[in-house]
Amino acid sequence: MSKVEQQALVSCRGLVKNYGTGNAMVQALRGVDLDVYGGELTMLVGPSGCGKTTLLSILAAILHPTAGEVWALGSNLTALSTAKRTAFRRTNVGFVFQQFNLLPTLTAAENVTVPLVLAGWSKRAALDEAFKLLDRMGMRERGDHLPGQLSGGQQQRVAIARALVHHPRVLVCDEPTSALDHKTGTAILQLLRSIAVEGDRAVMIVTHDSRIFEFADTIASMDDGQIMKVERDRTAFVALSPPADAVPASASSQP
């Protein structure tokens, strides 16, 4: 199926985001258009400070843009009230963080239940569901461990289980592999890919790590608050990797 015919799950038009005011104002996004499709893994790449995290935050409805519109799953996110956007995230968005952000005093399984508990599930039912999911990810026997007792890769798997447990259509991940070694990172990416494909989910990943580009379906390259190129041809991905000793950002976009 050609992507032109397929409906985008998340799309944005003319996104502008300014931080601060007056002389201290930083233009983090300067007019961004992007379409993100279900069943795909979309990566946002580019030098440090180019606005990747800002864009991801707006697409995930945790940040409000200065101008422009975001449509996700048929709703205009930019027109929703704060409470409605919170509710939207609760049901439709899963989050995976660089530092995992698991609650340290909850067991792995309990951490996985959080989105279900937020949706009003009882603890018992939520735990059953969490263990089922951990089981499928080969993590069942770790369910009763505290995050501190798990390796980084295991913690990230738990975090991914937490992001998935309530079956959201959109998954956002900021640097999900940068706290992991390459081998573990590759395994995590394989997992995320299968999640995208199986659930027809839109998985968005911000990354610096060119070694995982091969897992992407689409790579949007950003620089200085704009999308320079949207590459859908996998054979071209290798060319997107910067040389190993590349200077990250243009001087102007450094904070």
């Binding site: 945790i62 919170t86 968005v93 989050f95 952000n101 005093t105 989105p115 508990v117 640097e175």
Partner: protein
């Protein structure tokens, strides 16, 4: 969400116990100091409450508290008896006598003279001897603590003698009395006998003790007595409070205790608020993640307040329990410490703890509510 809030709290042992300790400390200090204060106040009025059998006290209009005796003339007794609604009225003597012991030592004692015929005002709690023996010549009943003060280390026994105003007094009974503020021994005797234990004076009657006829309202009868006699008439309970208020106003006691209570409150609040705030800060990333995942401000507020409520409740229980235990121990060990913990102390301490927990959680709440969910992606 509640179980998550509790697991967050209890998983962090250090902060959890820190907050409980802060609140327990504050409750302990507040409840204990307030109880000692209540105990002292009760002591000031103990002599009023110990006089049983009469519901109305009649006195000179200038009397300010129970030890502030301004003698009445005997005709006042008949004027009180003449008031309609008065069932009976009797004389009551209260004064200070100097006792001289066998070894020549002197000791001030509180001398109480009960109406010869009825013995109204007799000690409620006689532990040795009988009240009837008070009718014997020179007979007195002494309170246990007074006895132990006069004859330290001796088992109390009946028949012990000492002198007051060069007259011999013989102990025919030992009673328990509320500890008095002056800590003098309390000696009960007949009114006519009491007059022989003190140097002669023109007017000697200290109070008139009276009771209304069945069915009369004591307060209304007091107003009636006051109107007709120009004396002051109050119920026993009122007189106890008048005495306590006098001591509260005339001494620095409330201020002193107030300062300690305030200190406990401030220090407890500071410890609890600081620890709770640090606890919240430590979890701020987690709160940010919860917000990103769709936790509303209301449920986060609920989490923070539940955590504050739990540590407050536990701290309150420990603190108040320790205060009560302390009071019990000091009473069991026979110490002279005044300690009385009425329910108003528990309620007051509870309110103080509520205030502490609200103050402590305010800072944290502000922090959590102002948190932008987008911080979760900032490293």
């Amino acid at each position: 969400m509640n179980w998550i809030a509790l697991k967050m709290l209890m998983g962090n042992r250090g902060k959890y116990f820190g907050m409980i300790a802060g609140i327990a400390f504050a409750s302990l200090l507040i409840a204990q100091q307030a109880s000692i204060f209540c105990g002292l106040m009760l002591q000031t009025s103990g002599q009023v409450r110990d006089i049983g059998g009469a519901e109305i006290w009649v006195m000179d209009p200038n009397v300010r508290f129970v030890d502030d005796v301004k003698p009445l003339s005997d005709t006042d007794l008949y004027r009180v008896r003449g008031v309609r609604g008065v069932d009976w009225a009797v004389k009551f003597y209260k004064g200070l006598a100097r006792s001289r012991l066998e070894d020549g030592n002197f000791q001030q004692t509180i001398l109480l003279g009960l109406d010869d015929a009825t013995l109204v005002g007799a000690p409620p709690n006689i532990i040795l001897g009988t009240l009837a023996d008070l009718r014997k010549p020179n007979a007195v009943i002494m309170d246990l603590e007074g006895y132990q003060l006069l004859w330290p280390g001796q088992e109390p026994h009946i028949g012990k003698r000492f002198e007051m105003n060069d007259r011999e007094a013989e102990i025919v009974g030992i009673c328990r009395a509320s500890r008095t503020f002056q800590t003098f021994p309390v000696v009960y005797t007949r009114y006519s006998q009491a007059l022989q234990f003190v140097p002669p004076e023109r007017k000697v009657m200290s109070f008139v003790l009276a009771n209304g006829q069945p069915g009369t309202n004591p307060q209304a009868l007091c107003r009636q007595i006051e109107q007709q006699t120009g004396l002051r008439a109050v119920t026993q309970n009122e007189f106890a409070w008048i005495t306590m208020w006098y001591f509260m106003g005339a001494t620095g006691i409330p201020v002193n205790f107030g300062i300690t209570v305030a200190l406990g409150f401030v220090v407890g609040t500071a410890i609890a608020a600081q620890t709770f705030y640090l606890f919240t800060l430590e979890n701020i990333k987690q709160y940010g993640a919860l917000k990103a995942m769709g936790a509303g401000n209301l449920s986060l507020m609920g989490m923070v307040m539940l955590q504050a409520a739990v540590v407050s409740l536990i701290g309150y229980g420990l603190g108040v329990g320790a205060a009560a235990w302390f009071g019990q121990m000091s009473q069991n060990s026979g110490s002279k410490l005044a300690f009385y913990m009425p329910s108003v102390v528990l309620v007051g301490t509870g309110l103080a703890v509520c205030l502490i927990s609200v103050l402590a959680s305010l800072l944290s709440l502000r922090r959590v509510l102002a948190l932008e969910p987008a911080v979760v992606f900032q490293s």
